[in-house]
């Protein structure tokens, strides 16, 4: 809840918003209250409160003509609530017509993002980004920005490729076109080829997935984008009804009652906690010692064994017992190959 009386950090934020709002209004005609709220990332109520403060400010002296004038009648009802459609009019505030310069943090954040964009783009886009960088660097020359820098890595290039892939797959989904995928299946350690009816790209944790009807499996499947080696949009139209991709907010595998699946409880030591970010967990219960107890739905037991081996020896199965046994057996056999 925001309070009406601006105190503490509230006062500082209010001044910051007004230093942004006044120049914004100065450069545009007929800005409505709700537009100003959208720019400032706040509510119409808050903008109205901000403008009432502005109304009380101005040049020292306190004569009527010295104060900033805000047409409050246009943006406030007689009951004191905001008129979102009302046009904001401010006069006598020319000395605040230009926004505050960028802080060192703001300038460096923008410049580093632009450099990253420059270094990962090609051709005309690259020339365009360079041009923007030159202009921004010239205008905000601050000490900070010169000392932060990025050199893109192969990992960054993968991210760029995924953004492009996301665009291609989403376009195919909208156009109702089939896609042929070359997909790496980690639990089998092999690359497969299949034709899918794409539904759309969805995010979960740090990964993005294509949700699609797979004609090879004759079922809905999720494909992790970084495992798609190739995606070719075909001329053929999709043959299954068009639907929205599934919502993964509730977890990757909500269908725990899928035949053959089981809910497994693991204990992850602090060294293995990172796995909660990378693998779909149904529940994560952090423990006081930095470890975590997690629940996940396992469809393919081989997948779980691989996960436990990857995290070995920092992950243990709390139940069901059978998964401990298969994991221990694999660890034993693997160790024997090193002897």
């Amino acid at each position: 809840m925001t309070t009406t009386r601006a105190t503490g950090a509230g006062a500082r934020d209010q001044v910051a918003r007004l230093l942004m709002l006044v120049p914004f209004l100065h450069h545009r005609d007929g800005v409505r209250l709700e537009e100003a709220a959208a720019l400032l990332g706040t509510s119409s109520e808050q903008v109205l409160r901000d403008l009432k403060v502005l109304f009380m400010c101005g040049l020292p002296g306190g004569l009527p003509g010295d104060l900033i004038d805000v047409d409050l009648d246009a943006i406030e009802t007689s009951e004191g609530s905001p008129v979102t459609e009302g046009v904001i009019r401010v006069e006598n505030a020319e000395y605040l017509a230009r926004p505050l310069r960028l802080s060192a943090t703001e300038a460096s954040a923008v410049i580093v993002a632009l450099r990253m964009l420059r270094d990962t783009s090609t051709g005309e886009t690259r020339a365009l980004v360079k041009q923007v960088l030159r202009k921004i660097e010239k205008a905000v020359s601050t000490a900070g920005a010169n000392h932060v820098d990025v050199t893109p890595s192969p990992h960054d290039a993968v991210q760029v490729a995924q953004v492009e892939l996301t665009r291609v797959l989403n376009e195919a989904a909208v156009a109702g076109r089939q896609v042929r995928l070359a997909y790496f299946v980690p639990s089998r350690g092999e690359e497969t080829e299949r034709v899918v009816d794409p539904l759309g790209v969805v995010n979960h944790g740090v990964f993005a997935y294509l949700d699609a009807w797979c004609h090879r499996a004759d079922a809905d499947r999720l494909f992790r984008l970084d495992r798609i080696a190739k995606a070719e949009v075909l001329d053929s139209a999709t043959s299954t009804p068009r639907r929205a991709p599934r919502d993964l907010d509730g977890g990757l595998f909500r269908d725990a009652d899928q035949p053959g699946s089981a809910v497994v409880t693991l204990h992850l030591g602090p060294e293995a906690r990172w796995a909660t970010e990378y693998y779909p967990m149904r529940e994560v219960r952090p423990q006081a010692d930095g470890s975590a107890v997690v629940e996940l739905v396992v469809v393919d037991p081989r997948w779980l064994t691989r996960l436990l081996m990857r995290l070995a020896p920092h992950a243990t199965v709390e139940g069901p017992q059978e998964f401990t046994e298969s994991f221990m057996a694999t660890a034993q056999e693997t160790l024997s190959l090193y002897r």
């Binding site: 601006a6 105190t7 503490g8 006062a11 001044v15 910051a16 230093l19 942004m20 545009r28 400010c57 040049l59 020292p60 000395y95 605040l96 230009r98 926004p99 505050l100 960028l102 802080s103 060192a104 300038a107 954040a109 923008v110 993002a113 632009l114 990253m116 964009l117 783009s121 923007v132 202009k135 205008a139 601050t142 900070g144 010169n146 000392h147 932060v148 820098d149 990025v150 050199t151 890595s153 192969p154 990992h155 960054d156 760029v160 953004v163 665009r167 980690p186 350690g189 092999e190 690359e191 064994t305 691989r306 990857r310 070995a312 020896p313 994991f327 660890a331 056999e333 693997t334 160790l335």
Partner: protein, 320 residues
Amino acid sequence: MPAPKSERLLNLLIMLLVQRRPIAKDRIRELLYPDSRPDAFEKMFERDKDELRSLGVPVEVASIDPLFEDEVGYRIPPEAFALPDIELTSEEAAVVGIASRVWQHATMAQATTDAVRKLSAAGIDVDLDALEIAQPLLTAEEPAFETCWVAVCERTAIEFDYKRPGADSALTRHVQPWGVVRYSGRWYVVGHDADRGAERVFRLSRVQGPVRTVGPPGAYDVPPDTDVREIARRLAPPTGTEHAVLLVRHGAGHAFRRTADRIESGVTGPDHRSAWDRVEITRPAVGLADDVLAQGADVVLLEPVAIRQRIIARLEQVGR
């Protein structure tokens, strides 16, 4: 009733911005803090100035009369206060919009958003969806990142506990940070190491615990013409690509085969359950042991020996 604080701050800002000459403290008190007692005024005025400065408003102290240097006043120079004019075409403005979505770090994303808002306030229309450019994502998961970045921007000395690769324990290091650099997918802080008296590079993921700032901002100068990217390239240890030799069960381990330098079929393997291939790869050492272990009894790592030993040790601890 005293005016609300935001009103007082804004009036102070306007007064100092509009007057051409510095304004004496007495005059400021008279106009903006009329009902306050002297000590209360001092405290309030100090806090208000600090608050404006924290917004990035340059409140300067200058002598009112060049002939009498001890009489000081306050002012905000308009040219230092305002964003200089920037002319961007609509296409260029769209590029700025895309840049605002690059950061995947909360504070940096907020800083970029605030910068874009200021550009919008300067009359530039930033359309977030006007251009189809695949944008890269910049992440910074290292907890040390934010403090180091701010310290670089403000030129504040820092200290932190740092564990060098191969070292048993962390040492406290004292650094004047010159820059923060992302190099080969990792963040580094570059600066003057006060203990060693030389320039040094520290990988942020090796910083243990919090980074503490020491002393006031603006405490040192970065040597002119410092190129932090070049220093990182020169001083950062090679990012550890390893040449690894693996025995891979025939028909398995495709993740390694896909990127192999060399594959030799039908070699002698550790068991006779299947045929084995010898696969050589070059890749970052990070995660190599994890990836080999995930393959279970289908892949055995022969070299590097240090990673082989780590794998054996991890397997021996399973079930203990």
